[in-house]
């Protein structure tokens, strides 16, 4: 196993350490930080916006760039959370809990530096764990059959919904189903039959995933900024930060070092769970740290605690790297962002899953090794650039929003050169906007859409192998195990609620 890992690492190093790929990691981290820092724009939008740039590149270079954008965006999101209390997305909400109070107390530089060091440590520890666990899982997964894949996809989609939070399970499931429905539009690859095309030639190839990602995230988020008329939105001028203020003392390092170590490991394993992702990673790390802290330190949480800042920052970065495990080893995305990356992999003609480990080792190991490089770039290059990045937050919204809209529309148009796609984007943007206003999440929709085609293919194949019988769901022990895990995840909220009511703590609103 270690020999394989060593040769894989060497493959990864030789792939990543070419000038073009190093430049792409740097560019990805820079662009990710830049986009992620803009309030309202998270990693999904950042990755989706940069996908058109990768179409001219080879798969490894493209994926290395997108991975850089992903963790750059997480890092950038923390900056806006700390400086102006405007988290770019859910994964950095926990960062704002202590980061913003720390900035208000006059230590914005220190808060940003701690966030950078925590992100670096969380990301690096997580990449080491990824390097160990990914090949093991990938080698186990080579024995998977269509039935197992189908069951795994159901598990992934269910898990995404199960982590949706209180009262959100059914809504997330419904969005998964809607995503699966959208995936059926176009020509059925097996039978050649047209489905839901309404005679339109443009719909014969189905709905373009990049278009859907841009419409449901980038366009919708830009319009949300206009719609909500946030009071802080017209004057996002953070205080100027000097280089000296970025200093962290030895005592402070000593205080946060155990927090970083704990949160890195917790974050990674949470990230590995399909559907959990960086948001859960950051909140769980924050919660764990608050529970472990002595009472006097616990009282500081929410008021500018250094441990309270280091924990979620480490947790979300570690979980981001962890979410690459199901993506690279099983071809099942663990989060909305990795779902977009899966779409990019498919567009490159690479079949994600365990075979990628043997068929495209340069992509597999290239992504992993580029993460080391990306973490170093984020720390060494982005940290000194923070004072300049912060100025970006002062760009007026009346310039920023049209530019986001323009880049989103252009991103799709310059790939397809079809003006119909622009109109379809607007249609999907309006539908997504309506669904968001009705409190329905968008990430599960994207996940369902990307997995839809693969799911149908695997189900069809499994049925053919098992003579049109659904017995494949329980005949193989592995498939049965995965299905039982799915059922457990699906019914856990109901079981918990039943147990609570039995203990006399019934809450009528916690049903699902």
């Amino acid at each position: 196993m270690w020999d394989g890992m060593l040769s894989g690492m060497l493959t990864g190093i030789s792939t990543t350490m070419i000038p073009l790929n190093i430049a792409m990691v740097l560019f990805g981290c820079f662009m990710g930080s830049l986009i992620g820092m803009l309030p309202g724009l998270g990693p999904i939008t950042a990755v989706a916006l940069l996908i058109p740039v990768t179409y001219g590149l080879d798969p490894t270079t493209g994926m290395v760039l997108l991975a850089g954008v992903y963790y750059g965006a997480i890092f950038g999101g923390s900056t806006s959370s700390i400086l102006i209390n405007a988290p770019g997305e859910a994964a950095t909400v926990a960062t704002a809990l202590d980061g913003y109070p720390l900035a208000r107390q006059g230590y914005p530089g220190k808060a940003l530096a701690i966030a950078a060091y925590s992100s670096f440590s969380g990301g690096t520890v997580s990449v080491i764990l990824l390097m160990v666990f990914a090949p093991i899982l990938a080698s186990v997964a080579t024995s998977f059959q269509s039935a197992d894949y189908f069951a795994l996809m159901i598990l992934g989609l269910t898990a995404v919904s199960a982590f949706a939070g209180r009262g959100g399970v059914l809504k997330a499931l419904l969005m998964v189903v809607l995503g699966l429905m959208l995936a059926t539009v176009g020509t059925d690859q097996t039978s050649g039959v047209q489905r839901f095309t309404f005679g339109s030639l443009e719909l014969l190839d189905g709905i373009e995933f990049l278009m859907l990602a841009m419409a449901t995230f980038a366009l919708t988020e830009a319009l949300s900024i206009v719609l909500t008329r946030d009071a802080s939105s017209d004057s996002l001028k953070p205080k100027m930060i000097g280089f000296k203020s970025l200093k962290v003392t030895k005592k402070e390092f000593k205080l946060i070092a155990p927090t970083i170590a704990r949160s890195s490991i917790l974050g990674f394993f949470i990230g590995v769970l399909p559907g959990a992702g960086a948001t859960l990673g950051s909140f769980m790390a924050y919660g764990m740290e608050r529970n472990l802290a002595p009472p006097e330190e616990q009282a500081k949480f929410g008021k500018g605690s250094l441990r309270g800042l280091a924990a979620p920052e480490t947790g979300n970065n570690a979980a981001s790297s962890g979410s690459f495990v199901p993506l690279l080893c099983l071809g099942i995305p663990g989060s909305g962002t990795t779902a977009v990356m899966l779409g990019a992999l498919i567009a490159y003609g690479i079949e994600p899953g365990p075979r990628m480990f043997t068929d495209s080792p340069e992509v597999f190991w290239g992504i992993i090794m580029s993460m080391y490089l990306g973490n170093i770039f984020l720390l060494v290059l982005n940290l000194p650039l923070i004072p300049y990045f912060a100025k970006l937050l002062a760009i007026p919204r009346n310039f920023m929003v049209p530019m986001i809209l323009f880049f989103s529309l252009m991103g799709v148009y310059l790939v397809t050169f079809n003006d119909f796609d622009i109109l379809m984007m607007v249609f999907f943007c309006l539908a997504a906007m309506a669904l968001r206003l009705m409190n329905f999440p968008m990430a599960p929709l994207l996940l369902g859409f990307i997995l839809g085609g693969l799911m149908e293919d695997n189900l069809r194949r499994a049925l053919m192998i098992y003579d049109d019988s659904l017995s494949f769901m329980w005949q193989r022990p592995l498939t049965l195990g995965i299905n039982l895990a799915t059922l457990f995840i699906l019914f856990f909220p109901i079981l918990r609620s039943l147990l609570k009511s039995r203990n006399g703590k019934a809450d009528p609103t916690t049903a699902v």
Binding site: G167, L170, V226, P402, M438
Partner: protein, 159 residues
Amino acid sequence: MAREKVGALIMLLFSIAYGLLATRIPLSFMAQHEVFTSRTMPYALSVLGALIALLILILPTADPEGKSTLKEKTHGMEWRKAIYLVLLMIGYGLIMVWLGFIISSILFLIIGFYILGERRIKAMLLASIPLVVLLWFAMSTLLGVYIAPGEVFYMLGVL
């Protein structure tokens, strides 16, 4: 009505319509005797979608965020600017073929800035023209992507 119930009702109707449309998916004679056809997945999804939407409608709203009505949620929103921007995007899609990438993009950005309240002409021109020209140059010259000029230039005999 709680806003998530409104969403569930819409999704219920959508799932039913989707299921009905699925019955129109053409099947070959051979396919009609198969267990898994092009209609199977859409049928399953239609039933599943309708079932989940019904559950959301029937069960009490657990998510505190979803309890507010649409009216409460959308109160005070900047609808006018958002609608103008949507119309601008549609217009952009329609004029792209006629005016070409550069002119339509510059117009899109300038009108977008104007809708959001910008009135400094110099700032609007400086923020739009260099950006679009740079993007066009990068795509057409550096990456070798052919971006067709607008139809209007052919009609006027300029090209």
